[in-house]
Symmetry: C2
Subunit: 354 residues, 2 copies
């Protein structure tokens, strides 16, 4: 059996009994019933995922998957492709947004070269990034498949491998991305898997003007009509209109879910990866926590399709895993509510009138 097939097979739903135990305790806490709202909902999820009333969340890691995109040849991004490896260097040097927010949250940043169109072997050899390069960027999805089906499987399995390697030292995962042009494949994925129109799911990315946005819509439509990805086959969608870092994110989710670890999903690109992962293994949805709602208009459609309500809504549109890092504090807070707050009986506080 392949690693991909084995991993998918190992993903089981949340445990209902642990959910019920957590709910029973939370209902007795020394406060009005369910007065900490979504923190308590999240605490129940954590118990169901981890099969524990003290869900481990202390060891945190944001995994930033990096890759390039042949579709940049169509002029769909404001930034030149060289920014992808430059930003990988920025991550390694600790100067990017994700570094600041991960430090604040007490999380490690793990950078993975899934397919950057530059030689990053120096950084890989010195152990600063993980080298899981599938290729020097994808092919142009507006002209044909972004990658072969074999490459898509290899990229998914690389992501699974990263999750499994980290799983012994990480309790809580966050997904992150870097890849100039990657809102384009992400929009193509959400349009294919949800049936939403390309216009509705295509946004300004790093800052396109209205004319450039209209062009991006045309490019995505061309990609979909050239490739005709099959919405019933997530692997086909990933190969034809996806990206190496999106595959890495999907693989990370599958691997983490197979080890019953909660995964915070960041923005538009990360959630495209989640759509792929859920299309391959529907139960992995139960290990996902939507960190935030980004400015990209298609993000809301992704969340609705996944049945997830994001924790934060702060007009973020950076990616890198920044929203996930920020939401790690909320997850830690939810865990603290479950594990540290006294019940009415423990605190000797009178309860409400019936």
């Amino acid at each position: 059996m392949t690693l991909l097939a084995k991993t998918i097979q190992e993903i089981t739903p949340q445990d209902q009994e642990w959910r019920a135990r957590a709910t029973a305790r939370l209902e007795q806490l020394s406060m009005p019933h369910w007065a900490l709202g979504r923190l308590m909902d999240l605490a129940v999820d954590l118990a169901g995922m981890t099969r524990s009333l003290t869900p481990p969340v202390a060891r945190k890691a944001v995994v930033v998957m990096a890759g390039d995109h042949g579709v940049v040849a169509e002029g769909i991004s404001k930034f030149p492709q060289e920014v992808t490896p430059q930003m990988v260097g920025n991550f390694v040097n600790g100067g990017a947004g994700i570094n600041a927010l991960a430090r604040q949250a007490g999380a490690r940043v793990v950078v993975v070269d899934m397919g950057v169109a530059a030689d990053l072997s120096g950084m890989a050899k010195s152990g600063k990034i993980l080298d899981r390069k599938i290729g020097l960027g994808t092919a142009n999805l507006a002209a044909g498949p972004a990658m072969s089906r074999e490459q898509a499987v290899a990229a998914l399995e690389a992501g699974i491998g990263v999750a499994l390697e980290l799983a012994d030292t990480v309790d809580l995962f966050g997904t992150g991305d870097m890849g100039i042009g990657n809102t384009t494949p992400s929009a193509a994925i959400v349009a294919t898997l949800t049936g939403a129109s390309v216009e509705k799911v295509t946004g300004r990315g790093t800052g396109l003007d209205s004319e450039q946005l209209a062009h991006k819509v045309v490019v995505i439509k061309k990609g979909l009509s050239v490739n005709r990805p099959d919405p019933a086959d997530g692997l086909d969608v990933l190969a034809k209109v996806g990206g190496f870092e999106i595959a890495g994110i999907a693989g990370l989710i599958l691997g983490a879910a197979s080890r019953r670890k909660p995964v915070l999903i960041d923005g538009f690109i990360s959630t495209a990866g989640a759509l792929i992962a859920v299309s391959l293994a529907p139960h992995c949805r139960e290990y996902l926590i939507a960190a935030h709602r980004s400015v990209e208009p298609g993000h809301k459609i992704m969340h609705e399709h996944l049945g997830l309500t994001p924790l934060l809504d702060l007009n973020l549109r950076l990616g890198e895993g920044t929203g996930g890092a920020l939401a790690m504090n909320v997850v830690a807070a939810a865990q603290a509510v479950l594990t540290e707050v006294a019940t009415f009986a423990e605190a000797m506080v009178a309860t409400a009138d019936k």
Copy 2:
């Protein structure tokens, strides 16, 4: 000059020059323009409040003001009044929601007896709470003024005093409350100061059913018609339909703003305190950060009146300062974005096409 008048006089607006300096740096960070959205808006506010490009936020404290309310005689709460001192004990023992969330955020919890209807001198003598008791609970606001004008001033000045005492060791304040029945005076305050109808601003508090909610509306209307608080005179509103802990919160805000310290405003009761503070010293609004939108329907009306957009919306309705503690992480993250992220030039990353 009284402490209250002196404090009000010392509150100045945010500094526009420091705001501009922060904006200039944030616009150069190695990311698409303003891609961290509200974190960046908040970083500008922090710079404007503190007059610094490295706004101090590391030393955090949630100040929980506790007081009782004579209006509980009207049957407006599900919980008996004895829960107020019991919960003060729970705070002191570290078992309440605020303790768990403050620990997670790295914040101290400072509990202040502003007017609990019980003898808490034991806890005060052992240094576990601050004794600023104005009385053993307010009078019943449905029958007459909740307190005298002199008591209102004394309670405000007590809150100011707490802020000034803490200001040398605290960078970031959060407001919190405990007081059975205190959504009733809070609703009366917001109705008076914003002109909104009592029906629109009155909620279920700790869990009233529809019949009990209708009764609460009647009680609040009675309080307003008996007292006729003057919306142009915040002190009159506070005295006639407020509470000792609400006054303490308002005073804390005034004191913190006079020392140019950011203050996270928690839920419905804390924001009622903020309405009083802003009515007395409009500039103090510029030191407020709305932590979250609570389930109480009147909270949104308060935020709109203050011109503040809350950071979080997680169905919280506990009070105690819990939403503020949770949002302290967001403030710390905003500060980290301003102080730790490299610019394009520093990181040697290419910028966007013009």
